[in-house]
Each structure stands twice: as C-alpha cells, then as structure tokens.
C-alpha cells in the first residue's frame, strides 16, 4: 500500500498527488512512469512521474480526471492508501549534451513536460517552454515552468490567457527567426504532437514525442501498447514512451486510442455506482 501524503488541485480536473513510494523514489527519472491501481480491483493506469524526492521517499503524479479509473483514484484523499503503485517504468528522457531545447506541452501533458524542462534547466540547457491550454482556468504549473524556462510562452485556444492560438504558431515563428533548437520535446494530446511534428519536419528539427497508448502491465508482457515507429512495431512501455516524432504513425495511434470508447461510458457509470456505494 502506498500512502498519499499530499493532494493538491491544480485546476478543476487536474490533481497532483504525492505518494510514499521509497523504492521508486530512489530510481525515478524524468520521462519515466508508474502504473497505478487505486483500489483492489481497480484498473491499472499509467501516469508519468511528475516529481520525486529521493530523501523523503515520495513520488508525485499529476492526473486529469477523464473517466472511471481516474475518478476512482480521485476518490482517495491525503492519508489514504493507493493499492498498487509500480515503477519506475519506461526509459528516462535523454537530456545529455542538449544545449537549446524547446519543450512543448499541451494540457495535462504539461505535467509530464515539466520535470523534463526542469532537468534540462538544471543541466544548464537553454529551455524554451511553449505550453498550451484551452482556457485560462485550465492553466497548470505556471510558476514551476517559469522558474526553469529561459523563455516561457503561454498559449490558449480562446485567448483568455497568454497569446491566442496553438503551440505550433510560436514554435514555428521561433524556428523561422533563426532559433537553433537542438531538439524539440513535445508532450500532450496526440493531435498536438502530430502537428508539432508536421511543423518541425519542415525545418528538420529533431523532435521527440511522449506516447501514451493504452497499457496494462507496462513491462512488455501484453503488447497492447504497441505503436508503429519507423515502420516497425514498438512497445511504448519498454521501447518508449518517448520516440522520434518523425517516425511515429500518429494516425494509427489515434485510432488505436479509440478501441474502448464505447466501454468507457459504461465504466464511468459503474465507477459512479461504486463511489456512491462507498458514500452511503
């Protein structure tokens, strides 16, 4: 069992929890993830490690409440225990030798992008963070990002905060104006990553994306997380989750993400039943 030592709401649907997991805290690196099962008989859900404190022995994750699984997780509060918390899984982000990087985050993906930006900053790399949200109320980790970015560009779909528009606009403008990025790291919804890659491909700027297919075990055992990368089948959990964006078949990945759409609504109802039972 893994105790939640802190729970903090970042925006109406995005929550950060800090969890006691000393074995994972010893090892975790930015880019890696954990598999979480909130309660006995809950679903296994992958979440990227947002932060870790090796001394305290804690690991933080940021989750967006989107469906049944995250709803049940969110029913747990500070002091409660998570049933299963396994990791750190996947490969760490490669930051070695990078001098000038654009970190592009979209929505809750910013929570995944943040530790990467932070690590790059700590290693002396110039960091340009371009983050996008639908609207003002959804902005997360603004102070944290500002603290580790040489240039912080905030975008919103409706213009209610930062500049109005999508993240690819300032990215393209910077590149056009001669900014020499060694690499662009894009983390967010598949559609956003796809468009970032379409943009950077034009200028041949290496782009790394963080894929989040449906997973179960996270150790290479089920093949459910498979993607086509460079024409080959890869398992996101052990070969990734980060891949060369130019090689990823995004359309296939987006389609595979819809496999359980009809089921999700049903699961949400079941989760509601379950949670309400708990309240009575």
């Amino acid at each position: 069992m893994f105790k939640i030592v802190k729970k903090q709401t970042l925006n109406p649907t995005v929550v950060l929890i800090e969890v006691e997991a000393p074995l994972i805290a010893r090892k975790a690196e930015p880019g890696q993830f954990v598999i979480v099962r909130a309660k006995e008989d809950s679903e296994r859900i992958p979440f990227t490690i947002e932060g870790y404190d090796r001394e305290k022995g804690t690991v933080s994750i940021v989750y967006q409440i989107v469906g049944a699984g995250t709803e049940i997780l969110n029913s747990l509060n500070e002091g409660d225990e998570i049933h299963d918390f396994a990791g750190p899984l996947g490969n760490a982000t490669k930051t070695e030798g990078l001098k000038n990087v654009a970190v592009v985050g979209g929505g809750v993906g910013c929570a995944i992008a943040y530790p990467v930006a932070k690590k790059l900053h700590e290693e002396g790399c110039r960091v340009t963070s371009i983050v996008g949200f639908r609207t003002k109320d959804l902005v997360i980790l603004e102070d944290e990002f500002r603290a580790c970015s040489d240039n912080y560009i905030l975008m919103s779909d409706d213009g209610s905060v930062g500049q109005k528009g999508v993240v690819t606009a300032p990215l393209e403008e910077l590149i056009k104006n001669g900014e020499q990025f060694d690499e662009v790291i894009a983390i967010g919804p598949l559609i956003m990553m796809k468009f970032v890659v379409l943009t950077t491909k034009k200028y041949n700027v290496k782009t790394v994306v963080s894929m989040n297919p449906i997973m179960i075990d996270g150790t290479g055992m089920c093949g459910g997380c498979r993607l086509t990368v460079g024409g080959k089948t890869k398992f996101a959990c052990v070969d990734g989750p980060e891949f060369d964006g130019f090689e990823v078949d995004f359309d296939e990945a987006m389609h595979r993400g819809t496999m359980y759409k009809p089921f999700e609504a049903h699961a949400r109802d079941e989760a509601c039943n379950l949670l309400h039972k708990g309240e009575q």
């Binding site: 074995l23 699984g69 990791g87 899984l89 290479g220």
Partner: protein
Amino acid sequence: MPDFNMRPDKNPMPAQDPNVRNKNFKEVTLGYTVEQAMDEAKRCLNCKTRPCQAHCPVQINIPEFIAEIVNGDFEAAYKIITESSSLPAVCGRVCPQESQCEMKCTRGVKGESVAIGRLERFVADYHNQHSTEKPVVPAPNGHKVAVIGSGPSGLACASDLAKKGYKVNIYEALHTEGGVLAYGIPEFRLPKAIVKKEVEGLKDMGVEIDTDVIIGKTITIDELFDEFGFESVFIGSGAGLPRFMNIPGESLNGVYSANEFLTRINLMKAYLDESTTPIMHPKKAVIVGGGNVAMDAARSAKRLGADVTIVYRRSMEELPARKEEVEHAMEEGIKFELLNNPVEIVGEDGWVKAVKCQAMELGEPDASGRRSPVEIEGKFNEFEADCFIVSIGTSPNPLIKNTTAGLEVTKRGGLVADENGATTREGVFAGGDAVTGAATVIKAMGAGKVAAKAIDEYIQNKAN
C-alpha cells in the same frame, strides 16, 4: 489384488454441460467424488516398473499415492504427492498427462490409462477442503534468498527454501501472485482460489511477497545482493513477451495478443460487469495457434459471446494443446480450421473485418518424422472476424538480462543455466520458462525445486 474385470476406460470426469459452461467462467470440470476416486484408484495395477512415475517430470511416487486412495487414506496420499510436488491441486488440473505420467501407463495398453491427474487433483482438493493443519514454521537458519517472479517456479523454489529455514522474499512485477496461473490460465480451468491458497500457505511459512516490484526497474539484481543483503537470487520470471506474426493489419483495432486478451480477463476480471477494465466482446473471433494458450483464448472469447474459430497451420494431430482442452473446446462449439496460416488481417475503417489465410497441406515427413505443412499455391481462405487473437508463442522478457551484468542468454532469449539452475553469474540461479522458453507448470515447478536445492548447497558451502 487388482480386479482385471474393471472398466477399461477412465471414470469419466463430471463436468458442467458444454452449452451451459460456454457462457460462464466457473470451473468446467467438477472433480471426482470419493466413490469415483476410489473406483478409479482400483484400476491401478501397482506396476513394479512404474512407467508412470518415470514419465512424471518430478517423479511423483504414483503407485504409492494411488494405493493410499484405495485404502481410503487421502491424507497419506497427499503426503506422498507433496514429497515431490508443491502444487498438486494445480498440476492435477493442468498437466498434459497424456504426454507425461499417463503416456506409458500399463493400463493404457488395452483401454485407457489410469486417470492419474484426476486422482492427484482429487487428493489435493480433498486435503484443501478438510485439512486444518497449519504449516510448521521451521527455525530460521539466518540466510536470505530473493526469488524473482511468483509463478510456479518461483513459488516452488521459495517453498523448499522456506522449509529449510531460509528467509525468502519474492518480488513480483504484477499486483497479484501466481504468474501465468493468475494472469494466463482462466478461472474456468484453474480457479484463482486455488492459486491464492498456495500463496497463503507460503506466507504462513514466513515467505514475504512484495508485489508491484519490477526487478531490473524498481530494484536491480546487484542491489539485491549489495544493498538488500541477499546471498542468492532465483530468477523465475517466465516467458511473458508475446510474439506477433508481422503480417499486414496487426495494428488494427480488434487485434490482441493472447497475453493481453487473457490478462484483461483473468488478472483484471474484465469479464465481470462491474470491472472498470475494458475488454472487447467480439461477435466473431479468430484465434491463431494450437497450444493451451490458443485454447484458453478461444474458450474465453466464446464465454464473452463470440462465434469462435481457431486457425492453425498444421493438422489436428500436431495440436500441442492438452488433449482434454481440445476436446472441451470442441464440445463448447469452437470451430477448428486446420491447415490454415494467416497472411493478412483485412481491415475496414481501422477495425478487423476478416482474416486471410494461406491454405496448407501436409508434406513429406521431415527429420523429426512429423509431416510439415506446405503452402497450396494460390489457395487462400478468408474468415470473417471482428477480433483476431495472436497466440503463436511467447519468449522470455529481456528486462532482467538487460539490467544485470554477467547474465548470459541463449539465441532464443532464455537464460543460460546448468542442470542445477546455476546461471553464468555467481549466486544467481534460474528456472522455468525464463530458461526453457514457454513450457509447462510442472517443469517450471520442478526447476524451482532443483534450484532451491542448489541454492541451499551454494549458501551452506560458502558459510562453511
């Protein structure tokens, strides 16, 4: 004296009606009653040559345990079995008896062999229902061993070491213990309560089990030695990496590896309505493969309401699955389209629509004497389907090898180990599917026991 006018065939196994059971996940076979077991036991001739015992991978003293059933002393029978096996309730159910203990049974020369597996299951179930005995916790001997993986090999190794007084910690990557027994073999063939009971027994003996620990990720083998103070490590990590066919269409929605399909069903209980883990309820499922895994995937798909077809590139005789599983699958209404090898999964809007197969025929016998399948040029068969489950085998997961210096593996990915389970790294032993590639429960269990003995010798030699 054995009665030579006895029935020539085995006492039939009571089972749920095929048309009822193919809609539920409850155990298919119900087990012998006391009368049936005693009647079946009487069929044993108590042969001096013991061909049965010789063909059991762990050499259970079969004639003797069967003699105790005849005597009505089921606990005595249980004691005899557990001298050689630590998972009789499991092996009695899932061993491929027809190619092991029952293969050369004298009774089988004329008529059917003695139902050794069913008797073993009877004895184990009887014990589990009636015994209240708690295991004796041996005095600690002061030594610590880590076991990686809680499948049959890891459980057996841990059990034998614990009996000798070792402090044993099992590290399991998944959230539930049992390995394939938990995530692979379905409830209708091996109720999870049985696996749980075995695991609880180990815990009662003082074995500590840490689930959610992935060795190589959470902790490395080096750390187990250097920081956690283990004197020896046993690797029983199985062969869980699924193989795909590398044919067009494998990334369509509706394509599963058998591992994923079965894990969702068994480990995550996706077949229960209240589960939050999704599983597709296919209308028409095609499964490729002929082993136990293929049968389990097919019969699970059937229970989710699908019309199910198994395609396999060889013929019925070459099906590697347990005979009983094939029979049960047929009774349950699963179709077999043999001599068919999938070459393409045809899609529509990104979902599986049909499976295109190359038609095969049996050619000349090869070196092994088996007639190998050859393509019939230009002949293809297409099977309509919305779900395609790939069940053509698995290989050992490279995760541990990749994070441990000095561990050698074979070309096929299995850890190199000698006949005692010693790997190429000092103090590290291995057994089961992690060494052999996908094999059987009893072989994995046997390998765990052999390694436990070798680990004991290794540590005692070092201590002296």
